[in-house]
Symmetry: C2
Subunit: 597 residues, 2 copies
């Protein structure tokens, strides 16, 4: 094999006159009157190589037979291109290589789609031929960006004294949280391992071990029905530390983000990041992961409209719900149809209706206006800052529905109005989460983060008497409307952990059966500790300017958890199942997997 | 919480006079006439802190109540110790901290074993209380060494342009090789994912993708019956590259090892590493992973003993077997009992008997000597270099048994004679493996490495006619008798891969059913590629001077694949199984897991 001396994208005018050997793939091949021009592509970029009877000899005949995606090694001299053939679109467009020797390392059939950026191909086909899809420069660049991001995390954390420790993938099923993936044991008939949803318990045990600072770029698993931004296996940067107060940890993590964004995409982040309480995030933006690149806050209306003639407002407030309003600046000129189109959208988030007021020709207009007194109109105007051309949108419902509806409308209209700067990266910490929420379905309290989150010290005593008022020492890191990280200070005393399990409805026996090893561990000198985990796939997605997690993962699964490349999951041998002491519950139904991928 | 200013092991005489705050665990506590001395331990080391009525005030009363493994924060002044109390065994033994403030961060029960190095505790107990076991300095240092080794691998590979790419853990069962761990699919009834035995196919597909240089510190899984140096999940440093010849890759990997050994344990390795053919390794050392720290090579005897009166020698040779001999220098003085004790040991490796000759008082002695002619004795003496006081051990059997028996005896006697220097690190590449071997049980050829290993170009044509003569472009890296890495150049042409599958007894249909995506991929412009994988757990074990893989893994499983800390695997809810469309084959038998851990 001709031995590579340079990469294609590495050559510059400084190499003119040198004899070089390149390896790569044929991007394009053009025959101009017996002279062959091949764009040769490798991971670093593209170089034009030329075959001409004047200098290529037998290589020309060989080159004549190559087609797109053939794998070549070529040797030749780097020369300046003729001024009229310089390609300004190519980094290497000023030079070319006059080939004297060629070796065809492998042939190629015509690929099922073009190997180029921005290709419009059905994603199913791209996933089936992932090895060709990944050959496209934008996909390669994303993989390289991901590799670089991972290295930056490691360099930073290593520099701060965090030890990289691997925790088990074959672990124990803990029926809190999402559904587990299970792995039947061959050695222990009838027993199962579970794949970890996170290394949470292991990292806490490492703190009990006195490791003090731990990190891991860890694979995690959740057997959930997938959405666009979920995968059955995902990667998180998992971090835990002892003897550190919350604010010191948050500052350190801010510095980590600063370095990550600077060294990957050259963006300088300002610190400290904004901090917002969970209550404010929900109240002002209708979301616990607010997009703070624009304002357009939700406005409280209860006091103004409680006694108005709008019956639905009054009755919602009476039942303990609330009325809020969004001022869509400049949308007062929308047609009735445009406004009505918001209805079905709002309904998806639970709205039973959507009241509105237009400010037009100096006046409030709209179906509900007639129910307001002039004083009320004045109060609404003052509270919302409504001006000529504005549109006020009202939601009246439970707190949760109002937040969901207006939060979604805020994002939709903000985007529509061009209020969101795609080049901006707006981080914020969401703080002071409630420790618990009440699950109507299960009729019990559930942990907002997880059962190991430490309550505020002064709230611990209310764990029994008024659980919903207890705040957690938890924090989420949000970026442009995505949650990119989250964590908490952890419980490290057995009695507090027992109180927490009790609040979650576990009897002492149940708690000990599930988490006895942790309760025991807390008695042998457990340091105060806490940590955070970053959603690595999502961070890479945002760094790469993508909107789909699958674009950031080399071999992702489809929305129905299928690998189209390898065609897994798949049926296995009966003998394998027998060894694992399991059998199929019933004959599997034949179905074409691709149909609902 | 008093905020840590220094780590315990960080303080030196240079800090004398400073007021510092330390966090850590109580290692020991001594009361000398009302003055309390506590050795406070953190990850970095130990510092003596002193409580004295003269300067400690109320802190003394608090300190009086603490016991071993309590977690403390203390503030005080660093002072020089009295000359007579300087502790030369402690890095920080010249100084101590006069405590003025104390905070008990957590209490501790008496641990089930001492938190100190070299503790003699049943491993079962250590694994059950792994979080305490890991608190022992030698375990912490091993975890830190592992973290550092991982970082060095990454830094080196990143510097050489290798991209860190994560490949799936939920992948497809391929019934080649070891037993798979299976994961039932909830979405696709009756189907299963498999946990990867290695990322082999994915890394090759990444080469098809044009990524050119890939690495991953990857978790791999094998559901095998475990030996001391196996774990159900293990970690390998997985590397693959395109457009690189074997020798360039091996040199690069040598530089990687040089850096790893220098930066972790300060050992300078000499390069290039020794190279030895597989045939020579087996012939001279009876092992494909020879310990080259000492000689004592196996000596061929067939030509000399074929016609001797030792019937078993003659008959073995006639049947195509062989006779080899080991010269155990200086063991000629062993008693008959000492020699006889080798018999059962050799039998474990398949020996039906063990013939021997002592050189004593200038003469050959032993039961078989009388069957030799004087010429034969002379020839044996010359071939083996046998001198006064030597012991010759003969094995006569199939090639394999002879290699196993004498290879094992060589190691045992070499160790016994002190020929092995524990401080030496002797690397070698084993090359020119056979591509295939014949599996008597399955009555078919099996791949020595794996089915993707490239045969030597000039041997390809013999794949059908004389498969056992085909050599592979494969290489193992051995260190002190352990295989620490292995890899090969890969097949990258469809026709060669098809020939290989045929040699393994797969019909074209079977081959396509199992590996169609790979065969297809080879047709779209696959570059020449190859790679290697290092056994990370084993390398760390050797770096740390340990002999048990479990010592290098934070949360290992026992020899019967049990996690004693979390008590997994464990039974799960019937509802969970139902969702996964499986049921238990039969009621599991009750058994105490700990009994056979």
């Amino acid at each position: 094999m001709l031995k590579r001396t340079h990469h294609c994208g590495q050559l510059t005018a400084a190499n003119i006159g040198e004899t070089v050997t390149l390896n790569g793939w044929v991007q394009t091949r053009r025959d101009l009157g017996g002279v062959l021009f091949i764009d040769l592509r490798d991971r670093s970029g593209i170089m034009q190589v030329v075959f001409n009877p004047d200098f290529s000899g037998e290589a020309l005949a060989v080159a004549d037979k190559v087609r797109s995606e053939y794998v070549l090694a070529v040797t030749g001299k780097v020369v300046q291109r003729d001024p009229e053939t310089v390609n300004k679109n190519l980094a290497t467009g000023e030079i070319e290589v006059q080939v004297t020797e060629i070796e065809v390392l492998n042939a190629a059939k015509t690929p099922p789609f073009f190997i180029e950026d921005g290709v419009e191909v059905d994603e199913q086909l791209r996933l089936k031929y992932r090895y060709l899809d990944l050959r496209r420069p934008e996909m390669q660049q994303t993989l390289m960006l991901r590799s670089k991001a991972s290295k930056i995390f490691r360099d930073f954390l290593d520099g701060e004294g965090f030890a990289d420790v691997e925790t088990p993938i074959l672990t124990k099923s803990t029926p809190e949280g999402a559904r587990d993936y299970l792995v039947p044991s061959r050695v222990h008939a009838g027993e199962f391992f579970a794949l970890p949803q996170s290394p949470q318990i292991y990292k806490q045990l490492l703190m009990v071990s006195g490791l003090e600072r731990y990190y891991q770029i860890a694979r995690c698993f959740r057997d959930e029905d997938l959405r666009a931004d979920r995968q059955p296996e995902f990667t998180q940067v998992d971090i835990e530390t002892s003897f550190m107060e919350r604010d010191d940890l948050l500052s350190m993590m801010e510095q980590l983000m600063v370095r990550l964004f600077k060294e990957t995409i050259g963006v300088e982040l300002a610190t400290p990041f904004q901090r917002i309480s969970h209550a404010d995030a929900m109240g002002k933006y209708g979301s616990d992961k607010p997009d703070l690149r624009f304002g357009m806050e939700l406005i409280e209306m209860n006091d103004i409209v409680a006694d108005s003639g709008v019956k639905v407002f009054a009755s919602v407030i009476e039942k303990g719900g609330e009325v809020k309003c969004l001022n869509a600046k400049g949308c007062g000129t929308w047609t009735r149809k445009e406004i009505d189109d918001l209805g079905p959208f709002a309904a998806r988030y639970g709205a039973k209706g959507l009241a509105w007021i237009q400010v037009k020709e100096g006046e409030f207009k709209g179906p509900i206006v007639k129910f307001f007194t002039p004083e009320e109109i004045e109060a609404v105007k003052e509270r919302t800052g409504a001006e000529e051309g504005d549109l006020l949108l009202f939601s009246a419902d439970t707190k949760k529905v109002v937040a969901d509806v207006l939060g979604a409308l805020r994002l939709r209209i903000g985007r529509q109005l061009g209020l969101i700067n795609d080049k901006e990266f707006k981080f914020a910490w969401v703080l002071d989460f409630p420790l618990l929420s009440y699950d109507e379905e299960q009729k019990r309290y559930v942990a907002e983060h997880h059962p190991f989150t430490r309550p505020n010290d002064e709230d611990v005593e209310r764990l029994e008497s008024d659980p919903l008022s207890v705040r957690a020492q938890a924090y989420d890191l949000v970026l442009n409307g995505y949650e990119v990280g989250g964590g908490s200070m952890r419980i490290y005393k057995r009695d507090v952990q027992e109180k927490m399990f009790a609040a979650l409805g576990l009897s002492p026996e149940e708690a000990y059966e599930k988490f006895g090893f942790l309760l025991d561990a807390f008695e042998y000198g457990t340091p105060p500790h806490g940590g955070i985990a970053f959603g690595f796939d999502r961070l890479v997605m945002l760094l790469a300017g993508r909107t789909n997690l699958r674009e950031t993962i080399a071999f992702p699964k489809t929305a129905n958890a299928t690998d189209l490349l390898m065609d897994s999951p798949s049926e296995v041998d009966g003998g394998q199942l027998e060894q694992l002491h399991i059998k199929l519950a019933k004959k599997p139904v034949e179905e074409k997997k691709e149909s609902n991928g």
